[in-house]
Symmetry: C2
Subunit: 314 residues, 2 copies
Amino acid sequence: MNDIDVTVREVGLRDGLQIHPTFMPTESKIAWIEAEAAAGVREIEVTSYVPPKLIPQFVDAEEVTRRALAIPGLTVTALIPNSKGAERGLALGVHKLNFVMSVSKTHNLKNVRREREESVADFARIVELVRAQPEGRRPRIAGGLSTALGCSFEGRIPVADVVKYALLLAEAGADEIMVADTVGYADPAQVRAVFKAVMAEIGSLPIGAHFHDTRGTGLANVGAALDCGVRAFDASLAGLGGCPFAPGATGNIVMDDLCFMLDSMGLRTGVDLEKLLEVRRIVREALPDIEMQGALARAGLPRNYLRAEERRAA
Amino acid sequence: MNDIDVTVREVGLRDGLQIHPTFMPTESKIAWIEAEAAAGVREIEVTSYVPPKLIPQFVDAEEVTRRALAIPGLTVTALIPNSKGAERGLALGVHKLNFVMSVSKTHNLKNVRREREESVADFARIVELVRAQPEGRRPRIAGGLSTALGCSFEGRIPVADVVKYALLLAEAGADEIMVADTVGYADPAQVRAVFKAVMAEIGSLPIGAHFHDTRGTGLANVGAALDCGVRAFDASLAGLGGCPFAPGATGNIVMDDLCFMLDSMGLRTGVDLEKLLEVRRIVREALPDIEMQGALARAGLPRNYLRAEERRAA
């Protein structure tokens, strides 16, 4: 779309809720999705098609997906760990499947009990499934690389490994590549090195970034990725999130702060910052015990703040 | 010094304590300064030479300065609002005087009750005082520009105004220029614009940056300033800080997180991260009610973390 410069993608309903022990009522999830779409967020990862036995939070994946698909203009995505998940997504007509594997061998084994090459083969089979769909029912398929900027089991991950698996997913037919700092290890220099190397190899294939703010560097990493030309970022409202298999990893970058920073930089996201901040109330009321982050929510907008759109018009 | 790439400057004892209602015992201040110097921080703004009637927290400015000056290898600095403050610093033999004025007309009037031109004239008189000192007793004098990236009374500040006052302070004889985002309004694009413009005019004069993390963009702004070539940053341990005349402005960037980010980027600061984190205990014990920030303190260092020095040696 030409009226925005950067796509922000809400992943809190998946990455934020997956490690939270309390079930968020389905109606609250829908209210959150509807309110955030109304605030201008155009892409939301609404759930994960994992077995509900594994993560009971996603027992309502079907209903959440169906109702999100009813929201006009919203791109509805969901995480898939394997081809079973892909089949569920295809049956529902979700707009995009977010496949994820780990660049770290150890993390991939712990997270999906597979060698990385097996995950790549899984992905290739999923792409076949997707391509077998009739046109108009064919979702986009993203190839996600978690632990690409560090792993809580292995530490730093060689850039060459990230490039290798990005290329394998691209060759297998990914419509886009997602590079994720699952455990919040990244710094801006590393982000630049990894994204430049990956982008040089995957050519014009779209690329997105998924950062966690575990060690405070989240928005600095966004700045570095922007410099590389990345124009799609995952984030979660109030910084909800973490990874069940990465001890100590807490918090995606804060959607509200991300949108403020981008907008302040003159980059249009399509998001109304005041409306976005109001969505926090839905989360707070549904999950009174969840930890919520967010500097903008505490401090408010700067005095005489002009939105990127307004400055562009002026 | 050639063994570090970036100078980090602790300002928590001044910027962090000035709005805190509880007096921090002098012994705790000294313990904090000594521990942070031992952790490798080479420059500390230990106090402010304002009238103690105005800010009782600094009633012990003389003793704190004297005892900090006894620490080998530490550059001891202090904030001065006017020439009276400068005289106190000169008498004590402090290593550097940090003069500060606001680029925002309104903020300068509220903060030091002067027009900006009067502040520049004050600064010129202070430089004369400094130059009249015998060599060896002559401190460095920094010209600081607060509200350079936004003002809670005026909103955005024209880049031309920042350049104008930076040049006036440089011409008056500043040994370095400090550009401050006093109220945490800045974004990386704005930082780039302001620092590039100022640096183009002041030539080889050293420049430092002072960022607040009020809206979450603090370390992203550091990233942008690094790109411009800035190699000196203010920060406060645990993100203590704010501005008494800027409502809602809380928190300098977190020293611990700043040092982690720089070190992770391969930029040597001379700071031992584990030792630095231990200094937080001194602050916590002396001021149990103060709000402390810090992502690294919560999450710990990444697995198998190699310090910038170690990576350079490897």
